[in-house]
């Protein structure tokens, strides 16, 4: 089959690789019909996530048609399904508590050692996201093997387009959980750093959950426009001092809740960003945390901090004092996708949530490297890329 493979920093290629097979009883094989490039994939593309190996198939937002099932799969051939990027067994302590992204049983044992040493506990398995999280071949491919196919995949009713439901795999529930983690109360002002797909869905979710105002921060006019269309007020951090603006816009109180939808590769010219970037480039496992630092400073006393943005290592000059002295509450984590999919599918079906407004480009799988390059370096115009393995090159 054809699949997008990672070969190093800024080097992804579409290669011919062996087709996947059913291995475990609960497996299924999908023929992928749509798969997206995620902001998290950019961390792989930029080489800041450890544990990647040349030739790894990446991609964790995907959907497709079931073409083969193991004896214990509950799926049927021909069904259309969206697959959560988190691989979860459904029966361990964590899955029982719906903490699906903390599943104990989905990361192959030998792959657990690194994260167990790095974080104190092993991470769960994720599709196409380094060997720390299992080394599972991802979904930016013609076919993909889906373990625990009786737990993750959601069957999509005929009549719903791929583009309407694809993002149930990751960014839609991620934006939703980000807003939920902000514990929004009626009348709240919520500030969101980053107007990428995750930030945009967090904005949409926060408004649905009753936020009175959402203030969105980014530097790219097109992304800020998308935020504005959702109903947010916006701050362009290249032309405005974010902390001052937020204080004034919230009547001197500070936002009630803040959401960091930027993650470990924050841009900016603040001295902390430059220092962070230098450390990141020399491979200290250092994260660039400018957005998070700013969010912690901006949020009001006793406020809530939600961090969907991905961090993997360590960070310096963390405003721990602000966290403690202001009595902040922090919630974060990889999304517990399976917890939200049913409800979000219903909301999409009822027209309450639009998922397609942010898609800027649809490309054949063969053109995935172009998609990566532009999603990385042309962020203003390329807001979300969906790859279609069945589409032929123009």
């Amino acid at each position: 089959m054809r699949a997008l493979t990672w070969h190093g920093k800024h080097d992804v290629r579409v290669d011919t690789v062996p087709d996947p097979e059913i291995i475990n009883p609960r497996d299924a094989i999908l023929e992928v019909t749509s798969t997206a490039i995620c902001g998290s994939d950019l961390h792989l593309y930029d080489g800041v996530i450890p544990g990647m190996m040349s030739g790894d198939i990446i991609g964790h937002e995907f959907m497709g048609r079931v073409v083969e099932t193991g004896p214990k799969s509950t799926l049927q051939k021909g069904q259309r399904v969206v697959v959560p990027f988190t691989i979860s067994c459904g029966s361990c302590f964590f899955c029982q508590k719906t903490l699906y992204s903390a599943c104990d049983n989905s990361n192959p044992v030998a792959n657990q050692d690194v994260s167990e040493n790095l974080y104190g506990h092993a991470m769960s398995g994720l599709f196409g996201y380094s060997h720390l999280t299992g080394g599972y071949p991802g979904g930016q491919a013609e076919y993909v093997r889906v373990p625990f196919s009786d737990i993750g995949p959601i069957v999509i009713p005929e009549g719903m387009e791929d583009d309407d439901v694809l993002f149930l795999s990751d960014i839609l529930p991620t934006g939703w959980m980000a807003a939920e983690n902000a514990e929004i109360e009626e009348g709240d002002t919520v500030a969101v750093w980053g107007c990428g797909p995750v930030g945009l869905f967090a904005i949409q979710s926060a408004l649905l959950m009753g936020a009175a105002r959402v203030i969105a921060i980014d530097e790219f006019p097109n992304r800020l426009d998308l935020a504005r269309k959702l109903g947010a007020e916006v701050i362009d951090f290249k032309q405005t001092r974010v902390l001052d603006a937020l204080m004034d816009m919230s009547g001197g109180l500070g936002p009630d809740a803040v959401i960091d939808a930027v993650g470990m590769e924050a841009h900016g010219f603040a001295p902390d960003t430059i220092l962070d970037n230098i450390k990141q480039n020399v491979g200290f496992g250092a994260d660039s945390a400018h957005a998070l630092r700013e969010a912690l400073m901006a949020v009001r006393k006793g406020g809530r901090v939600s961090i969907p943005g991905v961090y993997g290592g360590f960070v310096d000059k963390f405003p721990l004092g602000a966290l403690m002295e202001k009595g902040l509450k922090v919630k974060t984590g990889q999304t517990h996708v399976q917890r939200y999919t049913d409800e979000l599918l219903r909301r999409i079906g009822e027209g309450e949530i639009d998922t397609t407004f942010l898609i800027s480009h649809r490309l054949p799988l063969e053109e995935a490297p172009t998609g990566y390059k532009n999603f990385r370096y042309n962020q203003n115009d390329w807001t979300k890329v969906v790859l279609k393995p069945g589409m032929t090159s123009a």
Binding site: V17, P18, D19, P20, E21, I23, N24, P25, R26, G51, M53, I57, K72, C89, G90, S91, C92, F93, Q96, D104, N105, S106, N107, P108, V109, A110, N111, Q112, D113, V114, N117, G125, H131, G134, G135, Y136, P137, R145, P147, F148
Partner: protein, 213 residues
């Protein structure tokens, strides 16, 4: 696919002369006192192998506890059928119980099999199984697996302790490699695989195909 942690913990297990029998029991109870201004330290609740400095005679001791969301009786029964052990123990190729003794075939260095014969020294249904190698063994080892109810509705806490005398020569170097560079590694990997099997019915793999092509 495999990562090495790069951390070397080999010297955490001091191998000084002391008792030579009941090592597993000793490993469980014995805590070495450490120097401090505190005149006398009271024992704490941690297992002995977690002690900062511990002595188990000539024996090296590895152990680990996992919680498995299944009833005690089920996990005990699965373990007690020794032929199941090779399904989750990475280096164990085959375990056969014949009458009083159990024969272990372990994948050894350079494609060679290592043989261990053991005898059950304690078998308390649903709570523990302990075994010890006989003279017909290439490795002097004993082990114990304990099952106790986890708090709340969490299933069973399964604790394994394996003690062995590091052998000499080529086999010794292999055993050292298999255990000592990361003494807890093999034990923890095996128990995690047991957990996967009991909780999900399968052992997770990220392979693309059954056989690498």
């Amino acid at each position: 696919m495999r990562h090495d942690s790069g951390r070397h913990r080999g010297d955490r297990l001091g191998l000084l002369a002391a008792a030579t029998v009941g090592v597993v029991g000793l490993a469980f109870l014995y805590q070495q006192q450490t120097r401090n201004s505190v005149p006398q330290r009271r024992g704490d609740s941690a297992p002995g192998r977690a002690a900062r400095r511990a002595r188990f005679g000539r024996y090296a001791v590895v152990g680990r506890t996992v919680t498995i969301a299944r009833p005690r009786s089920e996990i005990y029964a699965f373990w007690r059928d020794f032929s199941n052990l090779s399904s989750f123990m990475e280096n164990v190729r085959r375990v056969e119980e014949t009458g009083e003794v159990t024969h272990w075939t372990i994948a050894g260095p350079m494609g060679r099999d290592v043989h261990v014969e053991s005898r059950i020294v304690a078998d308390r249904p649903d709570s523990e199984i302990a075994w010890r190698s006989t003279g017909n063994s290439e490795i002097d080892t004993e082990g114990k697996i304990m099952f106790r109810d986890a708090p709340g509705d969490r299933g069973t806490e399964v604790e394994a302790i394996i003690a062995y005398v590091p052998p000499m020569g080529e086999l010794g170097r292999w055993v050292a490699k298999a255990f000592q560079t990361e003494p807890h590694l093999q034990g923890r990997r095996d128990l995690k695989r047991l957990k996967m099997l009991m909780e999900t019915g399968e052992i997770a793999t990220s392979a693309l195909r059954k056989t690498p092509s």
